[in-house]
Symmetry: D2
């Protein structure tokens, strides 16, 4: 996925609607969390087994995909606002995790 392309498209979307003033890092973090809760709401009363069975329910799956997309869109916009390279951050974190949880440690 081309993060820059999505970020630019989002930024244009926001500017065209005059929503720039709301996009503070603080507000974006709050919005990201609210979207995470909307994702969680889908799963809150499910057993572990039922949470797997979501794979076979196209309607629920589409809902999960929409919330997942919202989360990534806010995350990308937050990173844009703060000049964070998300791809680099993910690579760094995976390397850090490998050091934090060495094989045979758990």
């Amino acid at each position: 996925m081309d993060f820059s392309a999505v970020q630019n498209r989002q930024q244009a979307f926001i500017e065209e609607r005059g929503w720039q003033d709301f996009q503070t890092p603080k507000n974006l973090v709050m919005a990201l969390m609210v979207e995470s809760a909307e994702l969680q709401e889908i799963f809150q009363w499910l057993t572990p087994e039922e949470s797997w069975q979501v794979r076979d329910k196209p309607g629920v799956l589409e809902h999960v995909g929409e919330e997942a997309a919202d989360i990534l869109l806010y995350l990308l916009h937050l990173c844009r606002q703060l000049n964070i390279d998300l791809e680099q951050a993910v690579n760094d974190k995976m390397q850090k995790n490998a050091v934090k949880y060495p094989l045979g440690s758990s």
Copy 2:
């Protein structure tokens, strides 16, 4: 960013440590939310202006990047578990948003 490559690397990381049983969609959603809260914690007492100034604080910025990476890693793993194409979901959502918020509507 190559989502599949990251997802495969994550999956190998988890299998090498014997953590598969914990990775139910329900648990991953909960973990994603906890990481979102760790991101929010960084911003909770900041004014809007201070939330912008995070851009000039390398230590805080690195912390934000780590939490952002954790969120994306859990999101990608969740999508892998449920066979959701996150890139497609983002494209679909952006198109849906354009319909939901037509220009001149707000």
Copy 3:
């Protein structure tokens, strides 16, 4: 507020509807978090000043009150399920905070 009376009323409400099986501590914690997010959603795009002005908006205030009530109801039910005395826990925490943040420390 009489916590036990509310907890008993809730328990009766749940049993009358046959919802007992869903009320695991894990699920209740998830539901509490989702309600917290619904509260947060009301405030996410507000400036600090606007968040104060909610005091003068009866409709928004009623909405905040409903979400606050949902949070307390889930919290009380969770404490009931785990045999936690919430009033005692609050007293203990306030004492602990007084030790953690001694006067003149910040």
Copy 4:
């Protein structure tokens, strides 16, 4: 529990430490959510059964009690800031729920 007494004690605690400026409704809502996530973190990798077994683990139970207390403290402080009567809100919500979910409806 005497909500007013706890709210007054909290307010004094905050004023003695000069923390008033941070206590906007928006920030308190964010803090409440972060505490909810700290509670959720305790349960995120547990099976439903293990989440019940927390009842028999004094150390974990104490941790749960502390996070539950933090949530209620922030909730009470938020209600104080917005002049919301939390006890009244809970009573109203329980009546509303009885109407929303009539017996025999689910």
